[in-house]
Amino acid sequence: MISGHPLVAVVLVCAATALFGVHGLRPGRATSDFFVASRTVSPMRNAAAIGGEYLSAASFLGIAGLVLAFGADMLWYGIGYTAGYLVLLALVAAPLRRSGAYTLPDFAEVRLGSVRVRRLAAVMVVLIGWLYLLPQLQGASLTLRTVSGAPLWAGPVTVTVVVVWVVAWGGMRSVTLVQAFQYWLKLTAIALPVVFLLLAWRADGAPWPDSDAPPRFRETTTVSIRQPVEIRVTEPVVVTVRGHLDDRPYDGGQVLLTPGTHRFADGARATFPAGADVPHPVGTPPREGRSWTLPLAGTEHPLYATYSLLVATLLGTMGLPHVLVRFHTSPDGPSARRTTRNVLGLLSVFYLMPPLYGLLGRIYTPELLMTGRTDATVLLLPGRVVGGTLGTLLGALVLAGAFAAFLSTASGLTMSVAGVFAQEIERGRADRGRGGAREAVARPARRELLTLRLSGVTAAAVPCLLSLIATHYSVADVVGLAFAVAASSFCPLLLLGIWWRGLTPQGAAAGLLVGGGTAMAAVVLTMAGGPDEGWAAILLSRPAAWTVPLTFAVMVGVSYLTRRHIPEGAGRALARLHAPESLGLSPR
């Protein structure tokens, strides 16, 4: 197959990312540079950097894959991911920037003056960061396997190596440059093929997925099975099989697949005739017909599921560690606000695209429904629909965009997790001597850079190992869970910390423990294969709608009970968050 061309794109993106990383080395000597690019980034470039960092594997591949399999209800992902920035803009951006905190744990300490809450927040940052890194690495694994049949470990290892390189040698300044570049790369990579895809689609008579029948193969299709899969066949169909089917070897002979379950082994190839129903993998069947086209039609409790997803994405965005650190590259509160406003525009443009891929994927790549690898549709469509040299080139472009997505989100996350690690270590040292976090951060010292680099390696290596062990989940699903945990821990901490002076360290700690804990437990239960149906399943797989209010209630309730412990400097801290810069209250 075409295995030479596409990998060139991957190599180019990795090399460009690594080069930018080295380019940023020379100015990046001081640790403050390392962290926040000395706060000299303009709102537009910073917005592109935030967009570049934010558009992850879930956005680039995952949404299209979910739309392909589950239809209209999945359109909410793109909306929620964008709208989260509006909430961030309206309630968090400027005060957070003025707090002068580099990380979420810093914010907790600045606002509440409690080392214990800071440590708790640090633990949550690491957990959320790793949970979010996992799908990026899995996306890379799936991508390399789809385009070149590479072993499953190749993607995660490649991404991890490049990210560690960039983070360890460049720090935040180079990351800002890399991220801004990668936003535009990703937008081009997803938008340009859309033009050609839509032209080809119109030339084909603009078919809409059949709303009354299950998805069918439009033409004779050979499906390559890259991972063992168990499928359910409803209509008997004669297929040509090469490889192992139901533990029996075939060598290109014709086989009658009877209704029931059948098992294809790794490396098998099956050719289905045109017009045959696409068989589904056993487990979570994709939606069919009307329940795919129409919203709120396919699952139990669809309204709850939709609202819970919206709560998670709207409120989770502000709690993502790699999103917050970006705000400190803005020089002041108003510019942080303008940056966020620009991000909204950039994301709105991007998120118009993935649903189109999902829609076209439903028509032109239905075999993905059989292998369950629906996340690959964005990668396959250009070659399938446009075809020829142009199709190959567009395919390479999309591949480059996908890798940019893995690399940018992964490096941003690794940077934040590493930053938290390094700060905790440095703080441990500084506390033993004397002196606050800010001095420790501002002082350029070789030892601190070493600490940060080692932290970067640790921050990236652990999820890399996890991704090799963990079985495959839908990329956007895992990201959705990371959003739910962030929404149930840091969102209440930020909102109450910024707008309510009654918040106490005890209340914040209790809220983080209860909210983050329950959301985390729901995630673990879901990923371990919890209940399959009924309220229990939906409450666990979409926890935000109940864990977020619970966290708010715990934080407010415990703060009220411990109101004697409202920090003494609460008023001053709030004044710093809200007073305009011209009054000279907030640290520059």
Partner: protein, 172 residues
């Protein structure tokens, strides 16, 4: 008369421990506070400005007072936070109405759910396309208004008692 009714409340709160949220809060927009301070200096007339602290009427606070354990600085901070929070909540409220409304409309109005426009189901357009321009619009409005609020507040703080600040200009 209105002033006379306000003053005892503030005086009472002044004596309360300041690190607790007070029972009764004085709710005022920065412009209201500015008016109050102008009224305070204006009521005293020109001569009071010369005596004691010129240009520092009783209702004006400086940046250093903000959030400090004085009832006055606290009052200013609260008014600023209230204005900005109201703006933020208005924007988020509009967002919530929009986002909660679409699924609800789809769930309760079958005609809307089944409608198509140019071959594309209307719910797809409603969910995947329509909200984006609204987000951008709300974002622009929010940024503009929040900056205006901050400008108002900064003006108020920079020129404690804009009434007395304006007077020399007129003279000169």
């Amino acid at each position: 008369m209105a002033e006379a009714a306000e003053t005892p409340d503030i005086a009472r709160e002044f004596r309360e421990p300041t690190d607790f949220p007070p029972r009764r809060e004085v709710v005022a927009h920065p412009r209201t506070l500015a008016a109050l301070s102008r009224a305070a200096t204006g009521g005293g007339g020109g001569p009071t400005g010369a005596a004691g602290d010129p240009g520092r009427p009783p209702y004006a606070a400086t940046a250093d007072d903000l959030g400090a354990p004085s009832r006055l600085g606290d009052l200013y901070l609260r008014s600023l936070m209230r204005t900005q929070l109201r703006l933020g909540l208005a924007v988020v409220g509009a967002l919530v109405v929009l986002l909660a409304g679409i699924p609800l409309a789809c769930a309760t109005v079958p005609e809307l759910r089944d409608a198509t426009a140019g071959g594309v189901p209307v719910p797809w357009l409603l969910v995947a396309v329509a909200p984006h321009p609204v987000f951008v619009l709300l974002g622009i409005l929010n940024t503009r208004q929040a900056e205006a609020n901050e400008r108002d507040f900064a003006n108020l703080m920079d020129r404690p008692g804009s009434g007395s600040g304006a007077a020399p200009e007129r003279l000169g």
